[in-house]
Subunit: 348 residues, 2 copies
């Protein structure tokens, strides 16, 4: 019998944040691809687009006009998935038909008035302004009694369902703790109760010792490919010091966070010399007024691309019905990303 | 205060098969869409394509030649995610770096030698042959000691990562029970232990009484939009009698299954008058040699389209980080599907 080699043989890995397994098939990386190819993003956009509903001074789909903003700009989503209105609810819930009303607030955060930019093309100072806004928004929404979780995220690229290339992210704040955050919290909590340290403090320590999955780091943050990553170039940014949420960040930490955001997104763009699509978002403690010593701030990046700007990984069939599956190993992905420049390819 | 109306107000629903919640936003169905549009499938393909690696008599990417088959044809995937080889494994597993080798077999099941067909365009008799093959394959793989679960599925359409339009599905058989199947099993088991009936027996009874989520049914099967469906036109087929797996189907039941497959996929094609993409797959009892009175055969259909052949639902950002989110309600989707003809639009 051959002996097991994780670089060659199919295996499963355990994800302790979601208490789930995934299938890794390193031997499959070189299969030929005859399937769908994505259109690549238009690379040169104007700084102002008269038809963009996010540009300064333009009219949105609901008829409101944006102010002549410079820098960041936040407004309530005109077609939000949540409504802030309180509704009366008394229906008895039976087992198979259980539903509960959900209240919340959906906001759009424009990162810049400049239609042509993306995070990696902004200065660290400019990205720091975005981080400031995330912190302010978190504090403002956390103060509302009926808001118990604040989900900050960005969908980048049309392949990720982003309907407008103007640099922006979203905030969905709601009364329940969403399913995946709740799952993560349960895992963090049982770890913390046993070890009196956060799961991510201990994990980060072991990853720094191992070294092979680290992509980039600076004073206060590390970006790495998790041992259990399911997307080909999935990464996670973790604060070196335990912070429960973004409200706890000092000025210095916010700047450090902005810098690691710039480096990671630049590395991503350099990978296939394209504006690299992803969905990214922050996981942090709920705003439910309870103590959360188990929480440890982190941000997930889920990019869909596999082999080039045109060929993505399809999470379909087996992945939808059975479990996530990846080809290239997390260690291979981390080595590729780590060796890329933090100077943007367009600036070279 | 307004009183709650599930057709108007955001709410969360509980999925008892996965023990997960999802967000339903009925008020969001009419937001304007300026984002990515999909290319629609080429509608008229030849019955034989000399470049197709699945057509009768053609050479595949690895150099093997397909026989001159008629009807169904099964072969081992040339670039499978699993390997059948046994490997020696002794490494000590530490907490955060837990991995285990995984063995298995990947097969491709061609549904027909005719390159131009899809399931809804085949006769019930022809689809019954496909169901026969699924049953045979299940029995053959179940008999192998190291195979403990058999995942039968189909990715249809290039939007679902299907790299070849020739009518075919896949079978991934492996030594572990995959994550989502295990989760479903845990849920089915705890229900069964408490109630001495399967969760789906009781659920189906209540759905038949409610009526509003049923799409189509025949002697032995029901297709419905689950109360907790997350994809816009997601459906589930459930056997009316409790069957643990496909091996238990009689000739009569296989024919009934083929007929409901034809009806449902025809309804799907008629929805947007396009060859309707989806990932679909069977969930059934593991082949691990244990007793599984909790299992109840069902098949999930996860179609990506939302509003037209070109506009899909993006499960991104919030959905990847927080929880699944849908716009149109399951009841609305079921009503739309139920009112569509079971005669294929191309035949009219
Ligand atoms: O095996 P195929 O058809 O080449 O590949 C397709 O289905 C697989 C199983 O769902 C996925 O892992 C792949 O991402 C997808 O492209
Ligand atoms: O809100 P947007 O950008 O219009 O929409 C996008 O992001 C949302 C949140 O991840 C998703 O629910 C939508 O499917 C997606 O198209």
């Amino acid at each position: 019998n051959t002996s097991f080699d994780p670089k060659k043989h199919p295996h499963r890995r355990y994800n302790p944040l979601l208490d789930e397994w995934l299938l890794v098939s390193p031997q499959r990386a070189n299969r030929p691809w005859q399937g769908q190819r994505e259109e690549t993003a238009e690379e040169n956009r104007p700084g102002y687009d008269p038809d963009c509903y996010l540009c300064s001074g333009n009219i949105r789909a609901n008829g409101d006009r944006n102010p002549e903003y410079k820098g960041t700009y936040v407004f309530n989503n005109d077609f939000g998935a949540l409504l802030n209105e309180e509704v009366e609810f008394s229906e008895k819930q039976s087992g198979f038909f259980t539903l509960l009303p959900e209240r919340g607030i959906n906001r759009v955060v424009c990162f810049s008035e400049n239609h042509s930019l993306t995070l990696p093309e902004m200065s660290v100072e400019h990205i720091k302004n975005v981080v400031d806004v995330w912190q302010e928004q978190f504090n403002e929404l956390a103060a509302l009694d009926h808001i118990n979780y604040v989900q900050i995220f960005e969908n980048k690229g049309s392949i990720m369902g982003c309907s407008n290339p103007h640099p922006h992210g979203q905030i969905w704040a709601q009364s329940s703790i969403p399913a995946m955050v709740q799952k993560t919290q349960d895992q963090l909590k049982s770890y913390y109760e046993k070890n009196k340290r956060t799961l991510l403090e201990d994990y980060l320590e072991q990853e720094i010792t191992a070294g092979e999955r680290i992509v980039t780091e600076n004073e206060h943050f590390v970006a790495l490919v998790p041992f259990w990553a399911s997307w080909p170039y999935e990464t996670m940014m973790i604060s070196k010091q335990k912070r429960e949420n973004i409200a706890e960040f000092s000025e210095d930490e916010k700047e450090s966070f902005a810098a690691v955001l710039k480096d990671l997104t630049t590395i991503y763009d350099n990978l296939f010399e394209t504006s690299f699509p992803y969905s990214a978002g922050i996981h942090q403690s709920p705003t439910d007024g309870k103590e959360h010593p188990e929480w440890h701030f982190h941000m997930h990046f889920y990019p869909p691309l596999l082999r080039s700007a045109e060929v993505k990984k399809f999470m379909v069939g087996y992945e939808m019905l059975a479990e996530p599956q990846r080809d290239i190993t997390p260690e291979q992905s981390a080595a590729i990303l780590r060796n890329l420049s933090t100077i943007h390819y367009k600036k070279k």
